[in-house]
Symmetry: C2
Subunit: 415 residues, 2 copies
């Protein structure tokens, strides 16, 4: 008998051929229906979510996980608005990326097309179910969703509403499907479903990302780990340095674009460190310093080698005094995860050197790492932040959910 994944894979493939040929208008109408249908099923969805929350509590899941799981009426309305927002974004499909004519008069055009079938593997947040469905639909892709087992009731209710909307819009249910099995084995099958999946996007903690990267034969877009640094150069404006460090560390410490290590130029360390550490400690940040830092600001816990490599995702920050931009570039190359890196400086040449030589998805002068985000970049929506170099790097919006094909117009040319 055909497995659930085989069946859903086949349906997704068939749906993807229809989705690839829809006009932007048809896709926007479907998104509007999806937004409406979610609200029409508000009670059913919220009560499904309450069952998930109840089960999670019974299993003793910790508070932060239960918070992520929670979906109330207001949350659902926000998710629904997110789908409507997508209708206002330009459709990436059909864009002519490049075009030229060869000496033999062959006309070559590179056209943006959907990827095909996307597999999403994610954890507790049920809003990802709807966000991913909307982004995939708008970019002309079918999607197979595999959410966390704790959110299964919510995800089933959400998917039922979305599929109802698809049918009303005259589109196949196969466009948006949820894997109903909640065992680990189904994930392993999904990682090797090359026959139907064109790409896998894992979203979640490091364990999930590792599992997918190490076991998938389907091409993966790796998302998520961010050991980000703020470097305050000798020519920094101190106020900017403090504001950026505090913002990058504390505005939302649990996300991948939060900063984890502060690097301070030795020339200004004695003056700058007491001010910035005061501000950080005032915001409840626990600091771990190199010996020089501890010498300047007594009472700071000493950092170990591990601290330079740790993504705390918490109100903890490592602090190191450095000899200058050269050492910083080496430090980031050794310990960074190529996500987001900042130099705070008024010096043109060191800013340029940092931008040129630091290898990361996003490299900043005088701004917070927290801007590395599809919304804040102006993409209107985000499916995740790629920390790999292939295909997409940094925040991924609708354009990153596409590939291209070459169209070649001839008049009988042969080789």
């Amino acid at each position: 008998m055909e497995s659930e994944l085989e069946r859903k894979g086949r349906a997704a493939k068939a749906a993807s051929r229809i989705l690839a040929n829809l006009s932007a208008k048809q896709k926007n109408e479907a998104l509007e229906r999806m937004a409406k249908e979610l609200l029409a099923h508000k009670e059913e969805i919220v009560s499904a979510n309450q069952r998930d929350v109840h089960n999670a509590r019974a299993k003793g899941l910790k508070g932060s996980l239960i918070n992520r799981l929670l979906l109330d009426e207001a949350g659902l309305e926000e998710i629904s608005r997110g789908l409507l927002d997508l209708t206002g974004l330009p459709d990436p499909v059909g864009e002519v990326v490049a075009g030229w004519t060869r000496p033999n008069r062959l006309q070559i055009q590179q056209i943006r097309v959907p990827i095909g079938v996307v597999g999403m593997i994610y954890e507790a947040r049920p809003n990802v179910t709807v966000d991913a469905a909307g982004l995939c639909l708008k970019s002309g892709n079918a999607v197979i969703l595999r959410g966390g087992s704790e959110a299964i009731e919510s995800n089933l209710a959400l998917t039922r509403a979305l599929q109802g909307a698809l049918l009303k819009a005259g589109l196949p249910e196969g466009a948006v499907q949820l894997v109903e099995a909640t065992d680990r084995e189904v994930v392993n099958q999904m990682l090797r479903l090359n026959k139907y999946l064109d790409v896998l996007i894992p979203r979640g903690g490091e364990g999930l990302i590792r599992l997918v990267v190490e076991n998938a034969t389907v091409p993966v877009i790796e998302t998520g780990t961010g050991n980000c640094h703020v470097f305050v150069d000798r020519d920094a404006d101190f106020d900017k340095g403090i504001a950026i460090t505090v913002n990058a560390k504390t505005q939302r410490p649990g996300v991948c674009n939060a900063a984890e290590t502060l690097l301070v130029d030795r020339e200004i360390a004695a003056e700058f460190l007491p001010r910035v550490t005061d501000a950080l400690i005032g915001k409840g940040v626990e600091l771990r310093g190199c010996p020089e830092t501890v010498g300047i600001v007594p009472g700071i816990k000493p950092a170990t080698e591990d601290d330079w490599a740790t993504e705390y995702l918490d109100l903890i920050m490592a602090v190191k005094v450095v000899s200058g931009v050269e050492e910083v570039i080496d430090h980031i190359a050794a310990y960074g995860t190529k996500h987001s890196e900042v130099i705070v400086t008024e010096n043109y040449s060191r800013a340029r050197k940092f931008l040129q030589e630091v290898d990361a998805a996003a490299v900043y002068v005088n701004a917070s790492t927290r801007f590395t985000d599809g919304g804040r970049f102006g993409f209107g929506a985000e499916i995740g932040i790629s920390t790999q170099k292939l295909h997409a790097r940094g925040p991924m919006g609708l354009r990153e959910m596409t590939t291209t094909k070459y169209i070649i117009l001839g008049e009988g040319q042969i080789v």
Copy 2:
């Protein structure tokens, strides 16, 4: 003790940081030195190649493999000219792909940068060693090469010459390295060398590609399989249909962009099939036809289900009579490998439908599949033809050997 791969990975990573910051002028000078050094070591390289050929003959390798392995003086001169040709191509690194200013005055630019360290795994042809080294250097990437064990002597001699040139150009040897171990185990290690490799590009037969795709944890760009179709529509110009079919099948049957199946519209089958099959048979092609084809052209061997899915890479072609473009699109979706697909027609609407709905790297109207090639597309050079959808699709030139990073210029912005 550090393994060969660990040591070379570390050297490649260090070299990649230097390569990423070279000017186009520095890279072109290094390419010129590499071209020169190959010629200066002509005797050494050719005699190393003769040892490889001798060993291959002793092991009883078949003629076609020995042909691929062969590198004489003329071949070496051609390879050397290939390096010089690269100096004339534009440097993709540093291109501003996109740029915009956010409402908060953050300036965001997306800049093209090298990928970092490329792993190439390939088979018998020693010219790939030099081509890949040149393409990687020009695009600012370090490369670790793992060629076939039959070509080890040639590859060692070639790499020695290239590394000598690098040193003379003031660049690190780590920019171009060959894996000297010829066992399978070293390949398995390379597939999981995530710490140092940013991408793996396998080039070779289906077995090699499968091995890499199924076992690599390093991101892979899949190259190579092409089950390409020529569809001759009811409104085709017959002369174009015959010329394109014959060219696509016979001009070089052993390559991935050669055609494998001919699809002919039922309305013209009785008239067109005898003419096209005559021309194909005249070129030595063995045909395998559907029942209708066999009915129209007696003596053709009947095709089995397997024939529709086979990449012959040989003077064999499957032939099928179809009801029209709709059936063709379904047939290609079922059996194609998304490489190169052709419609021969004078009908505008069916041409447009075929271009829109066929999902392949290259979709043609009235031209041969054999044009799917970096050189023929005008890229000047080619590292392979991607048959996956992520990162690069179709012929890969220098641009496809790069990724991007975002550079963000602020003035103290925080979230």
